[in-house]
């Protein structure tokens, strides 16, 4: 009886072949689309790798002016770090209001901001190039030693212009840079800092700061932009796959239903030789399994063939791209497993129904 069971469950004809091809189409869709997104992921990763990444900025909340990171957080940092204090000031030169901006003081022992920052003395000030342009448009000529008044709600301090922070500098060219020894009222607080710069290599420090609830922002956006963008693509793919999986379940169930319908004579033969309903259900379940396995294998293969065909021949039509479909665990195993699960989910009820129908119909003629 076991031989009969196996032979009937694995019998192959043109209908079985059509069923295998149908399941293969579903798997091809999932494997192909996932492989293409993985290829896009890999391509954009390659683009991101070309870009030099800067340090991360760690702050409390989302604004420099409001951020107050407790000094105790520094105990969590084992590697290099630069401490920065930001004060919102009104800038006046020769009694003319030039603009409102940030005055930034840094404790930059690791030289992350600029190796030239150390000579900045307590009374010196570096001015962003754009702010300086604004001053010059107001007919104010700045030269070394020109007095610049930084006014805050708590009072003001007079510093001497020393040099210009040019475009391409670390901080906004609207800001002014002052020494950490700057006198009150913009002297750095001893209890807190506005933000901390952490090198991207210090992953453990960054993780600890993230756990502490600080906001971490990469100072070079491209890499994070592309990584975030690819995560969005993958999320979108899951949405598409989810809606598609409904169709795949219906498709596989329909195919198996047709197969059972056509195999009524086999069922009758089984009844004549004393096959029980559970044996018949088992045959169709096993058939569903092996049809799904072959369909899955064929589908994964076709998925790569079709997508590679598209990406390989697209340049001939003038569409050169950096997408190379990638075979990964998620683009091979996942569609295969889904086909298997949906195959069994679609086929099992049909198999059970077939066996129950036999029970209802009573003894064979």
């Amino acid at each position: 009886m076991r031989d009969v069971f196996l032979k009937m469950a694995t019998r192959t004809n043109w209908r079985t072949l059509v069923t295998v091809i149908g399941i293969a189409a579903c798997v091809m869709y999932m494997a192909g689309t996932t492989a293409m997104v993985e290829g896009l992921d890999s391509g954009t990763d390659a683009l991101a790798a070309r870009v030099q990444e800067g340090p991360y900025i760690a702050l409390e909340g989302s604004s420099l002016a409001d951020s107050m990171v407790p000094i105790s957080v520094l105990d969590l940092i084992e590697g290099n770090r630069t401490l920065c204090w930001a004060s919102w000031v009104d800038v006046e030169i020769q009694s003319v209001h030039v603009g409102s901006t940030y005055a930034i003081a840094c404790n930059d022992t690791s030289g992350m901001v600029t190796p030239d920052l150390a000579p900045l003395s307590g009374s010196s000030l570096w001015m962003g190039a754009r702010l300086k342009d604004d001053a010059e448009r107001m007919n104010i000529t700045l030269s070394s030693g020109t007095e610049v008044v930084l006014d805050t709600a708590q009072g003001n301090v007079t510093l001497e212009y020393e040099r210009t922070l040019n475009y391409g500098a670390f901080f906004s060219t609207d800001w002014v840079l002052v020494s950490e020894d700057v006198p009150p009222p913009i002297a750095p607080s001893v209890d807190s800092v506005s933000f901390i710069l952490i090198p991207k290599e210090s992953t453990e420090d960054l993780e600890r700061l993230r756990e502490e609830g600080l906001t971490l922002i990469p100072m070079t956006g491209t890499v994070a932009f592309f990584k975030g963008g690819i995560e969005q693509v993958q999320s979108s793919l899951y949405v598409v796959s989810l809606s598609t999986s409904v169709v795949i379940a219906v498709l596989v169930a329909s195919l198996m239903s047709v197969e059972v319908h056509y195999r009524r004579n086999d069922i009758e033969v089984l009844r004549q030789i004393g096959g029980s309903p559970s044996l018949i259900a088992g045959i169709f379940t096993l058939q569903t399994f092996y049809v799904s396995v072959f369909g899955g294998l064929l589908g994964v293969t076709l998925g790569y063939v079709v997508t590679n065909f598209i990406t390989s021949f697209a340049p001939l039509m003038g569409y050169a791209s950096f997408v190379v479909p990638q075979a990964t665990l998620s683009s091979t195993l996942l569609p295969f497993i889904l086909a298997l699960v949906f195959g069994i989910i679609g086929g099992l009820p049909v198999a059970v129904l077939a066996s129950r129908k036999l029970k209802k119909e009573g003894p064979p003629r």
Partner: protein
């Protein structure tokens, strides 16, 4: 109905994804002038020259930077507000675009909960840089800027990789492409002129093949510094790459939906075999039965297709309204129009009727008695021994 719903829901979304890179730069009669390499940036004089041409309707000098705002990737566009709004045809719905402005796209501001007066930290695109600006307005656009941040050109110089006075592109609206091309040729400035489908290199011996660009992109060591300098070509590559992924989705989607319809119709037709057997036994010929099937298919397919299109439309619209599909910071909105809806309906109907008829012809060769018994006539009746030895 589910298959048609999937078809009518996914195609407009896929078409919208595919057109995103083009929408970013192009539009109706909008052309893009960009540098060939970083070594030869667009000179500011070119912008002034183009501004003086009467046959140009609108002109927008721009820079682009990739940033992360509130954890989400966001494109930051450096613009001259007047020229940009003239090209984009959007509007500032609240606040203003005067002075040192930061306009948040309307959809972006609602997605990330950005309000007027909020301060936003912006960082360098390809180099470390820190800037903080105040949101001064909300900008509504029918295109990608609805998901972007717009700042003045001079504020973007620190963020984008171009530096002071730099421009990554000059977008021009004119209905006279040939005059634009001739004029640019006459300036002697090496540049790339794109119309959304192709790019031409002007005033340079540089003939940068797209396939070579891809090779250099994948292996920059082959091209030295020039390998990473061809910004415009790489933008084109990124656009192409998205297009090709979309094509792949469309091809695979169509194959899946065709098989889905085949499977469902096969099941339906097979379940009708007993009826065909009875009809055949009382004298109906194949042509009569085919006509009846065709009538049944039309009666079943028309409401199924219409309901499927409605369901797909509702699904895609809900996905768009809920900002569920977001690619590189841009929410994908399905692009429906009447022609597309009619095409989808016709395609669904034709597909259903043709496939149903084909399936009928495959089974209609059976004898009436076999059809009534539900046994395939093509499979000869076999003895028990034959079945077991099969």
């Amino acid at each position: 109905m589910l298959c048609i719903a999937l078809l009518s829901g996914s195609i407009p979304l896929l078409l919208a994804i595919g057109s995103l890179p083009q929408q970013e730069f192009y539009g109706e009669n909008v052309y893009v002038v960009s540098q060939i390499t970083n070594d030869e940036p667009l000179p500011p004089e070119l912008l002034e020259d183009l501004r003086n041409q009467t046959w140009i309707d609108a002109i927008s000098p721009e820079t682009y930077a990739f940033c992360v705002v509130k954890g989400e990737p966001v494109v930051v566009r450096g613009i001259d507000s007047e020229g940009f709004i003239a090209i984009d045809r959007g509007e500032v719905t609240s606040g203003s675009a005067d002075g040192v402005f930061l306009l948040a796209g309307e959809r972006l501001s609602s997605r990330l909960d950005i309000d007027l007066g909020d301060r936003i930290i912006l960082t360098g695109s390809t180099h470390p840089y820190l800037e903080e600006m105040e949101v001064t307005g909300i900008y509504e656009s029918s295109g990608p800027p609805n998901d972007e941040i717009l700042i003045p050109l001079n504020r973007s110089w620190g963020i984008s990789p171009v530096g002071k006075d730099g421009l990554l592109a000059i977008r021009v609206r004119t209905d006279d492409y040939d005059t634009l091309k001739d004029h640019l040729n006459g300036t002697g400035v090496p540049l790339v002129l794109g119309d959304g489908t192709k790019s031409v290199v002007l005033n340079s011996d540089e003939r940068f093949d797209a396939r070579l660009a891809t090779l250099l992109f994948q292996h920059p060591e082959l091209g030295g510094e020039r390998g990473v300098a061809h910004t415009s070509v790489f933008v084109q590559q990124a656009g192409n790459s998205v297009q090709i992924v979309v094509w792949g989705f469309l091809v695979l989607n169509s194959a899946l939906i065709t098989f889905g319809i085949v499977a469902v119709l096969a099941k339906a037709v097979v379940e009708k075999r007993r009826d065909f057997g009875v009809l055949s036994a009382i004298g109906a010929n194949r042509a009569q039965m085919a006509r009846m099937l065709l009538r049944d298919l039309v009666i079943l397919s028309v409401p199924a297709v219409l309901a499927g299109i409605l369901l797909g439309y509702l699904l895609a619209t809900a996905l768009g309204a809920g900002d569920v599909i977001i690619l590189f910071g841009h929410s994908i909105q399905p692009s429906y129009d009447l022609v597309l809806l009619v095409q989808l309906a016709v395609a669904g109907l034709v597909l259903s009727i043709v496939l149903g008829t084909v399936i009928y012809h495959l089974i209609s060769g059976e004898r009436p008695v076999e059809m009534m018994r539900g046994v395939a006539a093509r499979e000869e009746r076999k003895t028990l021994e034959e079945v077991l030895s099969d």
